[in-house]
């Protein structure tokens, strides 16, 4: 296990500390318990509850025993993560380690520089991948404001039997056929296409992905606002048509995981989500799972998607147990393979050497029927880009994400409240305001 180094101690200090520890711990165990360290972790609630049970009961529990630390893990629903983090920052009090499902760039002034964590892990596991780097690094300050241990790809899930009814047994392949096939499918079977459109994590991920798939950007690599462009307008018109031709009104009102529940009930023909959807189906109803296949959708922008989750942890700079929190993150990467297994393949490693047989696992998954089903994710590390693409996940990018500018832009058009051109213009104004605010705040 790699060790995070705290302040340097002399040999004399060490002997003194060891003697003190022996005296207090061995002679007065109840006193030792009283002085036991605590590590408080806030963690977004994983889509698979069994993962969280393992995380808290085994991973955190055993880590606590090894480090004589009482580890407290609080599981927070995804939709409440932002509010809790904001409250802790305002109070400068709360958890030591905060695990977000997206890059927490807007909190970087309240985070330690995680460079040492990265260096320590790199010495053992090599470099982190591009997605993780661009999700946690601030190129201006040269600081890592977070640490990313894993991420989740977000492919299209589709019911093979439904799509075979419209002569697409291998799935819609690209956005154009998603619409044309989805239209025929709804007309023939009454089953709508179920992309998440409402403001929320699912809608955010789906529509950011779609926007990039249509070759559009929100901001360019230098941070200039470019969302009001022809490709955005084309994408907006596309989603309006898709909803009209193949959608369902429920898409506009789904709350968290609404698209997942619709798929599990076989009420929709396709949706974009992390593979936790398929894993849930495998557990609940293998016959339903058997009919679901995966596929990344391509558009004029090629194959491109944002991750459903970018698992980013922050050690607050006001945390009481910073050393323990940093050490926990370092040790977490030693368990990447187990993280992958316990998440049932949802959590892809950011240090690729930690799961060297990833492709072999995807090609022959013991739970999947057929076993090669997850092979569709083989190239996910190549077609998945960070939030904030083509730039870094900076505070403006994450405020744009967390304030649902993009889903709201699409919703306005789908509901007929705005024309595609007006919606793009309104989004431009909002994005510009956010970008300017952060430019002023960060200098």
């Amino acid at each position: 296990m790699s060790e995070i180094r705290g302040s340097k101690h002399s040999r004399r200090d060490f002997i003194r500390l060891a003697a003190g520890a022996a005296a207090s711990g061995l002679l007065f165990p109840e006193r030792a318990l009283a002085q036991q360290k605590t590590l408080k972790i806030a963690k977004w609630a994983h889509f698979l509850p069994e993962f969280d049970r393992w995380f808290e009961g085994e991973l955190a529990g055993e880590w606590g025993k090894r480090h004589d630390t009482r580890v407290v893990v609080d599981h927070v629903p995804v939709e409440k993560i932002g509010a809790l983090a904001a409250a802790e920052v305002a109070a400068r009090e709360g958890h030591d380690l905060f695990m977000f499902p997206w890059p927490p760039a807007e909190y970087q002034r309240h985070a330690i520089d995680h460079a040492e964590v990265h260096r320590t892990v790199a010495s053992k596991h090599g470099n982190l991948d591009r997605l993780a780097h661009r999700s946690t690094f601030n190129p201006a300050s040269k600081k890592y404001f977070a640490f990313c241990d894993s991420w989740m790809p977000a492919p299209l899930h589709f019911f093979q039997d439904y799509w075979a009814e419209v002569d697409m047994p291998l799935g819609p392949v690209h956005y154009y056929s998603l619409r044309s096939g989805g239209q025929r499918l709804r007309a023939k079977l009454g089953i709508p296409c179920g992309l998440a459109l409402a403001p929320g994590l699912e809608g955010n991920v789906t529509l950011h992905t779609l926007l990039h798939g249509f070759n559009s950007l929100i901001r360019d690599a230098s941070g200039s606002v470019v969302v009001n462009n022809a490709r955005t307008v084309v994408a907006l018109q596309y989603v309006k048509d898709l909803y009209r031709d193949a959608g369902t009104p429920e898409q506009l009102t789904w709350g968290p995981s609404g698209n997942v529940r619709a798929m599990l009930a076989r009420k929709t023909s396709a949706t974009t989500h992390a593979i936790s959807l398929l894993r849930a189906a495998e557990k609940q109803d293998p016959e339903v799972a058997k009919k679901i296949l995966l596929q990344p959708l391509r558009g004029s922008g090629g194959l491109i998607a944002v991750p459903h989750v970018t698992n980013c942890s922050v050690v607050w700079n006001f945390a009481r147990n910073q050393v323990g929190a940093r050490q926990f993150l370092v040790d977490l990467i030693d368990h990447s393979q187990t993280l992958y297994d316990k998440s049932r393949g949802c959590n892809f490693p950011t240090y690729q050497k930690t799961v060297p047989d990833l492709i072999a696992r995807l090609s022959n998954d013991p739970q999947a029927d057929p076993s090669w089903k997850y092979e569709a994710l083989k190239d996910a590390p190549r077609w998945t880009v960070n939030l904030g693409y083509p730039g870094f996940a900076d505070p403006a990018a994450m405020e744009i994400f967390n304030s649902f500018v993009i889903p709201r832009m699409f919703m306005g058009v789908v509901k007929g409240e705005r024309s595609p051109g007006d919606a793009a213009k309104a989004a431009e104004a909002e994005v510009t305001k956010i970008a300017d605010k952060w430019k002023r705040a960060l200098g």
Partner: protein, 380 residues
């Protein structure tokens, strides 16, 4: 024993020599065999359902379309039987392709690509399904082809007027619309363009070290063993050519772009400008961040891209993979890896878009003629 080896060697040598000399009487070294159709087993192991390729609609060379388009002269054959094909390459069957289609190279627009449009793939039914769909590397053909695009430019002229949108699922539902049921040469306004992610190590394939690092790292010559492509259709919109009640005439922005593009690249059969590269298409689609094209400055480019925000001059699309559009969704269309030194046989002919019998882009004919007569490109 030694004599046996010697005999086998001699037979092989004679066979090889015969195979290349059957079509060639050349003064240059010949070591690249001319293109032939693949054999059924090769199609199958790469994920094709051969029964669908062997249909009139798919028009597989060797079985169909021996005469008629793309051949443009009376009695001209698109392919011939040739027993040397399987000798040169055991994955080929003995039908040699004479119709040699010219195409622009996507990244630089060079008229240097030559390919054989062997068959039209009209729907997913042409692919094997289930575990049969996986090749020896556990990849499906559909996944591989998803990133390898051949861009086709159907004629937009319908009854003498320019239609601003295709018929079928890619269209806007209005008429006139231009048909997309065929990509045969006589239906095109100008020549093909093929994407240039050719191999994994020459930097043209998707490279994670580059920005953007998107798309799987499939390479055309490395992964796509049948040389197939997904077909991307592209066209000039109503903002460029008018033709719709809400947009009867072109916008001034598109007029400016059309004039500059035509001046630089020349005009196609239907009177719209020719496009040579992916960047040029992105420019007329208004893709943010596209580099200046057609001689425009950076400032002019910024203004033109912004002016297209709600009125792009160009658009692209792909056909319904279920076959609803009735045209080619994919193509079996191998590009010749190296067209020099014999790959363009003496009896091959150039298949390009022609006006009054002459190619609309004469550079294809120059390159083809040089390759055929000298085994080299003209500038070599």
């Amino acid at each position: 024993m030694r004599n046996v080896f010697k005999s086998v060697f001699l037979v092989c040598l004679v066979t090889w020599a015969a195979s290349v000399s059957a079509q060639t009487t050349t003064s240059f070294p010949v070591f690249n065999p001319p293109p032939c159709d693949f054999n059924d087993n090769f199609y199958t192991v790469n994920g094709f359902d051969v029964t669908n390729l062997d249909t009139q609609a798919a028009g597989r060379f060797g079985d169909f379309r021996q005469f008629g388009p793309p051949a443009f002269q009376p009695g001209q054959a698109n392919w011939v039987a040739d027993g040397n094909c399987s000798v040169n390459d055991p994955n080929r069957r003995n039908f040699r392709i004479l119709a040699t289609t010219g195409a622009y190279k996507d990244d630089d627009g060079a008229p240097t690509q030559f390919l054989s449009i062997i068959a039209f793939v009209l729907s997913q039914n042409f692919f094997l399904t289930g575990s049969n769909a996986l090749n020896a590397r556990n990849l499906t053909l559909q996944d591989i082809l998803g990133v390898l695009e051949a861009y086709v430019a159907p004629s937009q002229s319908v009854n003498g007027v320019l239609a601003p949108s295709p018929c079928g699922t890619m269209g806007d539902g209005f008429t006139p619309c231009f048909p997309v049921t065929s990509v045969a040469t006589p239906t095109l306004r100008h020549d093909w363009r093929v994407s240039s992610n050719r191999n994994a190590i020459d930097g043209s394939s998707s490279d994670p070290r580059k920005t953007p690092p998107t798309s799987p790292g499939f390479s055309y010559f490395g992964d796509d063993l049948t040389g197939s492509w997904i077909v991307t259709y592209f066209w000039w919109t109503k903002f460029a050519v008018g033709g719709r009640p809400d947009q009867p005439t072109p916008t001034s922005t598109c007029k400016t772009i059309l004039a500059a593009a035509g001046k630089q690249n020349g005009f196609s059969l239907d009177g719209t400008p020719i496009l040579h590269t992916g960047d040029e298409l992105h420019f007329i689609e208004g893709v943010p961040g596209t580099a200046p094209q057609f001689g425009f400055s950076q400032n002019q480019t910024n203004a033109l891209l912004q002016a297209q925000a709600t009125a792009p001059c160009g658009a692209e699309g792909q056909e319904d993979v279920g076959g609803k559009d009735g045209g080619a969704v994919w193509l079996v269309c191998p590009t010749i890896l190296d067209p020099r030194n014999g790959a363009i046989a003496q009896d091959a002919f150039l298949d390009v878009v022609r006006k009054n019998g002459s190619p609309i882009d004469a550079r294809f004919q120059s390159n083809f003629s040089c390759l055929q007569s000298t085994g080299k490109f003209c500038n070599e």
